[in-house]
């Protein structure tokens, strides 16, 4: 059975923690689905670059990170990497000694030929969420992502790129 790594990116700070929170809920949901054909590993990262140390043997990578969008409602945006990212954003090379963004870390993994066959980034709109946001909202997001994954998002080969719309909650 191949390995799917759920990578929560963020920290304990305010909106930056939503990636971690939804990642933990997502693992619970996927673990409960007996038919889900992957070994599921979960790890929460503060620095996306550290993710590169854990990619050996991983065939499916699901990254969850907080992001800021213009939407005034909680939303999760999904994007396959690198295909959809490259089309929409180009190569992000914002690199400093303190910071390497998730896309930059994934681009580096790609250059080093370490990138798993399937990489999906889920962006969770951090601007609209707060500590007062009910847990049910996060659980709902995790459920929707789980559905998205089990519907087949994980099974697409890299050559079959498709444009995905935002998933609103």
């Amino acid at each position: 059975m191949s390995t799917l790594l759920i990578a929560g990116i963020g920290s304990y700070n305010e909106g930056d923690q939503w990636g971690w929170r939804v990642a933990r809920l997502l693992k619970k949901i996927l673990n409960a689905q007996l038919q889900f054909p992957f070994n599921i590993a979960l790890k929460c990262y503060r620095s996306p670059m550290v993710l590169l140390n854990d990619l050996s043997g991983v065939e499916r990578l699901v990254c969850l990170d907080a992001f800021v969008s213009n939407a005034d409602f909680p939303e999760v945006v999904s994007m396959r990497f690198p295909e959809e990212w490259a089309v929409q954003r180009g190569v992000d090379d914002k690199i400093s000694s303190h910071q390497m963004s998730l896309p930059a870390a994934l681009h580096l993994a790609q250059s080093l030929q370490m990138l798993p066959d399937c990489v999906i980034i889920y962006g969770i709109n951090a601007d609209i969420l707060s500590k007062a946001t009910p847990t049910a909202m996060f659980r709902n997001m995790a459920k929707q992502i789980a559905t998205d994954l089990t519907k087949g998002h994980c099974y697409i080969t890299p050559s079959l790129t498709r444009q995905r719309a935002s998933v609103n909650f």
Partner: protein, 433 residues
């Protein structure tokens, strides 16, 4: 190229924080050069006022995501100095190990992600990795082991929380220590390869005498203790006890930068790996000294382009030192309580980028009433500007504008400036009737 022109690099890339460079050239000469740091001040020295001494190491660690250990170690040293506490040899050894982890991760990151693309003709590490995957992988492995060493004592590698005034909250389990030692061991050889590889890169041969300063203790390569040794341009040296730092080093504000410039008796000076190596190379382990001899390297070096090589040599040193400490490890009492007293304490350690000086004044309850922190980047700022003036005049001004810009950025990155660290202070002058 003799036209009059100005170069304004609005945002320096591959450095930490936000800075810019303004350069005016007229008739082939530099008429104005300003390294402008415009990142807003972060006010840490005021934030810690009123807080208890035991909160401070974790608070000041947040000044820097890449060198939190340095901030913790300078802070604990300052409070222990105030409370007249002498750490046990076990605690000193663990602090050395903890610090080695930070040097390894910070230097590996700087070499591979920030500096090397300049020397190999790439715009960034992502492009460089396609041509040099083995070297970038090695860099990431070195950076990772540094993080693991930090996590052993700090609980985690980013914003570690294991250090405290009086020692560490916990002593690591021997099994974990041995597991880590076995990971460190093969990387010593990899670090040797890194040193040789960096030494083989074509570097500009630019000799330019400058003042440099680093800790020196006459016993070992300095990380956490010693006096500040300053090597002056006339080849004399001066040893300064850290409590007398302010009598020799003065910070001053410049109009174009939010970071203070620190000067030694009015002169710019260098801190960091090359300064440490210049002053302390004879205290490096035999294995490092042999490589230095084999490669024909000579110290002191006045070629700032050897900074990257100095970092590679320090990675090798730090791995050898880590393995030595891990090999000798036995658990012991990890921390001791403090007997509080009012007064002022001083701490100074060698952050990856150079001297990091702290001073705290506390009352009898251990509450901080005054804090002063002088980070390495504010000490190096004036030196960076002097180096730019010298190097551009000698090697770049006759080239086209793009080449001048590229050389200027390369020189600045050589210093691995941490702008966010340097902009934590704001001098407020309030006049009230």
């Amino acid at each position: 190229m003799t036209d009059d022109y100005s170069i304004h690099i609005h945002a320096l890339t591959r450095v930490e924080g936000e800075g810019a460079l303004r350069l005016d050239i007229a008739q082939g000469k530099i008429t104005a050069l300003q390294l402008s740091i415009y990142e807003p001040p972060r006010l840490f020295e005021k934030t810690v006022v009123g807080r208890r001494f035991d909160e401070i190491p974790d608070m000041v660690a947040r000044i820097c995501g890449i060198c939190p250990v340095a901030y913790q170690m300078s802070a604990v040293q300052a409070f222990e100095n105030l409370f007249q506490y002498t750490p046990t040899p076990w605690i000193n050894a663990m602090r050395r190990l903890y610090y080695c982890g930070e040097w390894i991760e910070s230097h590996a990151l700087h070499i591979h992600l920030l500096a090397l693309p300049d020397y190999l003709g790439f715009t960034n590490v992502i492009a460089m990795a396609e041509r040099h995957p083995a070297e970038v992988r090695r860099g990431l492995a070195l950076q990772h082991i540094g993080n693991e060493i930090i996590a052993l004592l700090g609980g985690r590698s980013v914003n570690p929380v294991g250090a405290c005034v009086g020692g560490f909250y916990q002593a690591p389990q021997p099994a974990k220590v041995e597991e880590l030692r076995l990971k460190v061991l093969p990387l010593i050889e990899e670090a040797e390869k890194l040193v040789r590889w960096v030494a083989d890169l074509a570097m500009p041969q630019q000799q330019h005498k400058f003042i440099y300063a680093a800790l020196h203790n006459g016993l070992e390569y300095p990380l956490c203790d010693g006096t500040i040794r300053v090597s002056e341009a006339n080849n004399t040296t001066q040893d300064i006890v850290i409590s007398e730092f302010e009598q020799h080093f003065k910070e001053q504000q410049v109009a174009y930068s939010t970071a203070l410039h620190c000067l030694y008796h009015g002169q710019d000076y260098l801190v960091g790996p090359l300064a440490r190596l210049n002053i302390n190379h004879t205290y490096l382990p035999e294995r490092v000294q042999l490589i230095i001899a084999e490669l024909g390297l000579e110290f002191p070096s006045y070629n700032m382009f050897q900074s990257m090589l100095a970092r590679a040599l320090e990675i090798l040193f730090a791995l050898i030192e880590s393995e030595k400490i891990l090999s000798a490890y036995t658990p012991a009492t990890s921390h001791y309580p403090m007997t509080l007293r009012a007064g002022r304490g001083f701490g100074c350690t060698e952050a990856p980028r150079g001297l990091l000086w702290h001073s705290y004044t506390c009352d009898e309850l251990g509450l901080v009433s005054h804090c002063r922190i002088v980070p390495p980047t504010s000490q190096n700022q004036a030196r960076i500007e002097a180096d730019l003036k010298f190097a551009l005049a000698h090697i770049a001004l006759q080239q086209d504008r793009a080449a001048v810009t590229q050389t200027a950025e390369k020189i600045i990155r050589n210093y691995d400036p941490c702008i966010s660290c340097a902009t934590h202070f704001l001098r407020l002058e309030i006049n009230r009737p």
